[in-house]
Amino acid sequence: MCLDDQILNTYLDGELTEPWKTQVEEHLNYCVACKTRFGQLSTLHAVVSGSRLEEQEIAPHKEKVLQFIEKNYMEKKNKIGFLHKDFRIKTPMLLSAAAAFVFVLVGALLIGPSTQAEPNALIPRVVPATGGAVVQVRATEGLAASQVLENYPLEEILKYLDSRGYEVDLRVKGIQPMGGEPIEPVEPALEPVEPTVTE
């Protein structure tokens, strides 16, 4: 009795157990028809299995997916671990946090006076002996600043600054003076620090 395709396929896949395996091998030794059929099934298997996606076709995708997972899952997991031992924040993060804090602080100081409408809150208090602190206020930029400054006459602002110990450097940019005389900078020039107010 000859072998059917299912037995031959099982044998081909190396899944046939004894004693059937030996019996099939013996049969294939003398039965030309079964041997031919086995040859055909082997070819079919070789062709189908051989038409596979190759390693070199897989490699770029393997790299890409790993990078995605590393970036979006592995690294995030490490950062979130506040309670884990290796707590760390990268320097750029600290810098941007500091920048955001300063931004909020300055913003609060500039907006503050418009609600209070008191001259002594107009410009941030100067901390003595810090040296070199420069405060620039431009009427053309920063809506909050220009709105605040518009509420006061220039003279009052200067008087206020003088009383607070500011050295004021007043400049007018982008406007040609109407007369021949250049505008003299107002210089109350008091110590100890020299912030600059530009209008």
């Binding site: 396929n9 099982t10 899944e15 055909q40 298997h45 062709v47 051989g50 596979r52 996606l53 997916v65």
Partner: protein, 175 residues
């Protein structure tokens, strides 16, 4: 070696070994490289996030193959429902063909095989893909698909019978 899927070291070990297998499984079910990449990515993300303990790399591999196979089958089901998807997937770039002496199977035969595999009913396709492209034995396939070994044996045989009838043997060239 025990595997914890959320530990980076374990993950990399499994990834290195298993990615080519699952990529092959996804590809030979969908025959689309981009879709296959998405499927594999999804499978490994699930693997990483689920934080599962496996007794061995092989156990993790079987889990990943099962998930990948299911994702790929789902994609194909959706594809058959949505006509738009059909067109998109049909336009998939052809797999680059190896040249010169390396080529065991020529490109025409590869195309024929692809067309035949695509036509297989889902149950037979799953078994055939795991057998021919994931290089698994009957016992492993039976574990992944939750069917008996004798069922695997029968399906392999039926799948090959259909494949043979669809592939013109005259056109199968093996160098």
């Amino acid at each position: 070696m025990e595997i914890k899927s959320s530990e980076n070291e374990s993950f990399r070990l499994v990834y290195e070994e298993v990615f080519p297998v699952v990529m092959r499984v996804a590809y030979h079910v969908t025959y689309n490289m981009d879709v296959s990449e998405d499927i594999c990515q999804e499978a490994f993300i699930r693997f990483y996030e689920k934080n599962i303990d496996f007794r061995s790399v092989d156990e993790a591999k079987y889990w990943l193959i099962r998930v990948t196979k299911n994702l790929a089958i789902n994609v194909m089901k959706r594809k058959s429902r949505e006509q738009a998807m059909v067109d998109k997937i049909k336009k998939a770039p052809k797999v680059p063909v190896r040249n010169g002496e390396d080529a065991l199977i020529d490109s025409e035969t590869r195309t024929l095989v692809r067309e035949a595999v695509e036509k297989l009913p889902e149950k037979l396709k799953s078994v055939l893909v795991l057998k021919e492209y994931a290089d698994l034995n009957y016992k492993q396939i039976s574990g992944i698909l939750h069917i008996s070994e004798s069922n695997v044996k029968v399906r392999v045989h039926r799948a090959r019978k259909i494949m043979e009838s669809m592939l013109d043997r005259e056109e199968m060239h093996v160098s």
